[in-house]
Subunit: 251 residues, 2 copies
DNA sequence: GCAAAAGTGTTGAATTTACACCCATGT
DNA sequence: ACATGGGTGTAAATTCAACACTTTTGC
């Protein structure tokens, strides 16, 4: 039992290292993908890992995550709540602090979830480290013994991030964070289909998203980049919460 | 920019203190209430604060939260996912790490949310420190200038916890965590009414919860403790996710 | 013309809502 | 008897799901 004086006396307790790890998701070629970096040093040397790093003494947790995201992808993060435009959505995911999660010392990692539009560069990141977009189906789908292991507890963090993204696009406008600044209803539908791994009815989807006030705002132009009849271009509207929500089929 | 060698070298970065803080919610006399403890030493001496304490070197974050909860309330916590019976639901809420949130040093707090049934003791806790159940309406409702301030950033953490509870009972069976082991449909309805601050139609509510498979299981007995016709007693069923969700009125 | 994707209309089913009504107890 | 809360029935309104059908482009 801790006595009363020591309850809030920081010097009385051993220090922890605090890091941020990032689950950066995007949709590429109809697949939900996560950003991985290759570890160059032990432990887990040569393993793929989530991008991340130490929180600096003078920065907040969100700031650290935003900085790491910019270092890895060049994206500027938008705090949750505001309209999601070019750049990425960034929110705190959960914190992982199992005593043995890092073999060297006690490390508590505050994981963040970032949703990014499809980036043109196949190998993102400003430095020369190995980095890749890996389809989450390959990382999480097969039995644990059959898939390439990730460093630390990053497979667990990734699974939590993917689950959060899958459920959050149901009742929020977050799916637009996967799209470029201007996009068509069909492109948005393909985002839902990739994240959920389902096929949606294009007609009902169109009615649903255009009929939800504040979800999409027409930006005036049209495009035929998907083929077929020209499609109206939209930008993300100010709405953040969808009521009624999008319905995920075959629940 | 951090060079590659230092990215995962814990000794290269200054230490943080890591704590857990608890948002413990219950429903008392038709009101949603939070557990507060009075601080006995600076900083914020004499202020009310959320219960919490340091994470020990050899325990996980959830373990630390569970231990603190037991110390403060005597409740045994049930990990999320499993059936919620006697005892409390406990889940991680979010992590707060603003550089100046504690004036003494860098403290990162992993906040947890606990939902507890109404406890018989008005002053919970095993030790003699001041503790009280405070209606959240009094803590968060009035303008910030008019309400009693909480220590540190605990008003923010509390608000986040309350918001999480309010939204989570929509699509999960978590409201049963506020109820004793056996309860009536009317008692469960009063939980929803207190947490959301609304009035629900008793007839439709009854049909909804009894019609959702796995939400409630009849435990055989009846009670007249609420007056009127004897009501059937139920226990929480195994279901954790509600489909379709409970609908919060006047959204 | 034909394929492909965008978008509109329509219809039956399922769900929600509002409220009338009955039930079983305590006083 | 009557108040109180428990519980069922029902009908209108709304929402959802499935799919026929038209529109507008590229080739």
């Amino acid at each position: 039992m801790i006595d009363r004086m020591s309850r809030y006396d920081p010097s009385a307790f051993p220090p922890f290292a605090v890091t941020v790890d990032l689950v950066v998701l995007t949709v590429r070629e109809h697949e939900l993908c996560a950003l991985l970096v290759r570890r160059g040093e032990p432990p887990f040397q040569g393993y793929w890992a989530l991008p991340g790093g130490f929180v600096r003494p003078d920065e907040g947790l969100g700031e650290a995550a935003s900085r790491e995201l910019a270092e890895e992808t060049g994206l500027r993060a938008h705090a949750s709540g505001g309209p999601v435009m070019a750049g990425a959505h960034l929110e705190q995911l959960a914190t992982y602090g199992h005593p043995q999660r890092d073999p060297r010392m006690r490390v508590v990692s505050v994981a963040h979830l970032a949703l990014a539009p499809d980036l043109p560069t196949p190998k993102p990141g400003g430095d020369a480290r190995g980095a890749r977009w890996a389809p989450v189906g390959e990382l999480l789908g097969p039995a644990e013994a059959d898939r390439e292991p990730l460093a630390f507890d990053h497979a667990l963090i990734l699974a939590d991030g993917v689950e959060r993204a899958r459920s959050k696009i149901e009742y929020s406008s977050l799916a637009t964070a996967f799209c470029p600044e201007e996009f068509t209803v069909g492109e948005l539908r393909r985002v839902y289909e990739a994240v959920w791994g389902v096929v949606l009815d294009p007609r009902n989807f169109h009615r649903k998203v255009t009929g939800t006030p504040g979800f999409l705002v027409p930006s005036g132009g049209t495009t035929t980049r998907q083929g077929g009849r020209p499609a109206q271009l939209f930008a993300a509207g100010g709405a953040t919460v969808l009521n009624p929500p999008m319905l995920r089929p075959e629940s």
